[in-house]
Symmetry: C2
Subunit: 337 residues, 2 copies
DNA sequence: CTTGGCACTCGGGAACACAGAGTGCCAAGC
DNA sequence: GCTTGGCACTCTGTGTTCCCGAGTGCCAAG
């Protein structure tokens, strides 16, 4: 009984604070939510909640504000993800369906998410680690230059130019292409290095220089994994929100691939929406912000993550609903293509 | 004589205001620049300059601030582009040299420019309009799916998946690939539609369905020209600068491809640095900002543009120097690859 | 355990005064 | 005719003071 009401109070505080952006006091609470008790009672509860670290007051004699710990409790136990409206679902679907290639899918997704949540959206490109080789192509460009193209099952294309010591011999190239495709087709990207390690040895000696040149470029392109690239959109939404911490830090973090990666990155259960609140996140520059993220991917494998970043004071149920929905739709799109 | 000194005064005002960010008064001017005349004289000159619209005072009795017209005069007649230091040049060169493909070139360029100028950098992807076909590739993906890849002389790669009504026939695909390459190789992208218009008619009837399916995708990819894509970096640099206009507008504009395109886009002489100051630019949301841009491209053709966007109150000589230098280096890199 | 009453605290806004920077103008000097 | 020093005037920005109101904590009564 007692505890129940305290939780109700906490929930009310979070909801009011999120919607008004002002510290909420005991009187306002009893007026806006019918809790059936008087302000004085609320005050007692609030005193306890404060002692337990769920709420805080900015100054003596001002309303209360949820702490990170308070938001955490709210997210974990006091709220449920709010599904999108039918109209929103249709909009998502039709917007994403128009995508023409993987770049386009990512670009559209990030914009969509930003617009939907009115916050900064972050989308990680589908990781290669989990994908497999669909095709390898070798294209002669000029006498001593070859373009090497790797296509994965997610539709991602990596291309590199290979500089050769000798003139290109069409037949050798064709042969090597066949060999490469035969040994790599369907193979996971992570196991490619193993597969090709002894390949030059199995070829006739005159093919080896060509093969080693190509393989070194191939391996390099895998190592770089630049495709763990992250894009963001909706920075304009930061302008309205007043961050406790300067928004310079936030913008800086957004342009640091590495930081973003770590924010979204540490994966969890497939398809579950994870929330990281304020000081819970690993980067000190983002103390005042929360990250709501989810994994997406085609089939049963999680390929990458996406999410949004906003002030700690955000509408978690709605945001989580949007993130979850978009993650699902993107997964569908990817699986279909 | 008279006019000369007025110009010197204007230059001094611009320089001081840019460096201090405070309206500059007559007394401060005589102290910091040895103009050889007294504050009272300066005041007379300033009154004239104000009447002519080159400077303005924010409030009665405060220093003067350059107007857009004043900056314009400064840029056109009173300043010269400041070359970069040798160290900066080396840094640019080595940073760009590490680029591995066209995406990488663009990404590195935009970051470099942002860091160099401490402003928002904007880079347009090399336009297809000016580029030529280097190679067309057709890759069977599955029974009824084909990947179509177009490689241009700038190293840009467009890929699309083609859905087919019939099963893929390897021989037909090979034949069509040969035909396509024969007729398109080296052909400008803008003339591709003409070249392929009658192509199905010249093929044996059994090849036509395949050919038309592929061609429709090819044409579509050309029409979309999404590659007139624009990326930006350095948004964090906006946080420090205090814009007269809200920075929300600026961030919004940055995410609108179309707006950015128009800002950089209207081309001018190759390799000249163009400056658009405050209200001169076509987009009302960006009244308080200036754009310094230049074209870049390999060889003698201008492929695209790059530049930076910052507050009207910027150090034009330095910024112009940086933009010019980066444009040149990128052109070199592109020409070499 | 809840509730009304009450004294206390403190932030934020309004009113006000003041110093300082800067201007415009005028009359004198070169 | 341009330049210069002097002088009165006009503002903005800042610091001070004061007061109101929202909100709290505590206490004693129900």
């Amino acid at each position: 009984m007692v505890d129940d009401r305290k939780l109700a109070v906490l929930r009310a505080i979070v909801e009011d604070y999120v919607s008004t952006n002002e510290p909420v006091g005991s009187k306002a609470l009893t007026e806006r939510h019918n809790l059936g008790v008087s302000p004085a009672t609320i005050r007692n509860d609030m005193a306890v909640l404060e002692e337990q670290g769920y709420i805080a007051q900015p100054h003596t004699s001002a309303g209360r504000v949820p702490t990170d710990k308070g938001y955490r409790l709210f997210v974990d136990r006091l709220s449920q993800v709010k599904p999108l409206s039918a109209a929103e679902r249709r909009a998502i679907e039709s917007f994403l369906a128009g995508a023409v290639d993987i770049d386009d899918v990512v670009t559209r997704t990030v914009r969509l998410l930003a617009q939907l949540t009115r916050q900064v959206a972050v989308v990680q490109y589908p990781t290669m680690s989990n994908s497999t080789v669909r095709h390898v192509e070798l294209v002669p460009l000029s006498e001593r230059r070859l373009m090497f193209v790797l296509i994965t099952n997610t539709g991602r294309v990596e291309q590199r130019v290979v500089e050769l010591a000798d003139l290109v011999d069409e037949n050798r190239v064709a042969h090597l292409r066949a060999v490469l495709n035969a040994s790599l087709d369907g193979c996971g990207l992570t196991s490619v290095p193993d597969k090709v390690a002894d390949l030059p040895g199995r070829l006739p000696p005159e093919d080896r220089p060509l093969a080693t040149a190509i393989l070194s470029v191939l391996l390099e392109s895998l190592v770089e994994r630049r495709d763990e690239k992250i894009v963001f959109a909706g920075a304009a939404n930061l302008a309205g929100a007043d961050f406790t911490v300067g928004l310079r830090e936030v913008l800086e973090a957004l342009e640091e691939q590495v930081v973003l990666m770590r924010l979204l990155g540490e994966t969890s259960d497939r398809s579950a929406v994870t929330v990281r609140i304020g000081s819970e996140n690993p980067y000190t520059g983002l103390k005042g912000t929360s990250i709501v993220a989810a994994g997406y991917g085609s089939g049963d494998k999680q390929l990458a993550r996406l999410g949004v970043l906003g002030p700690t004071r955000m509408d978690y149920p709605v945001t989580m609903g949007a993130v979850r929905a978009v993650a699902r739709y993107v997964s569908q799109i990817l699986a279909a293509s």
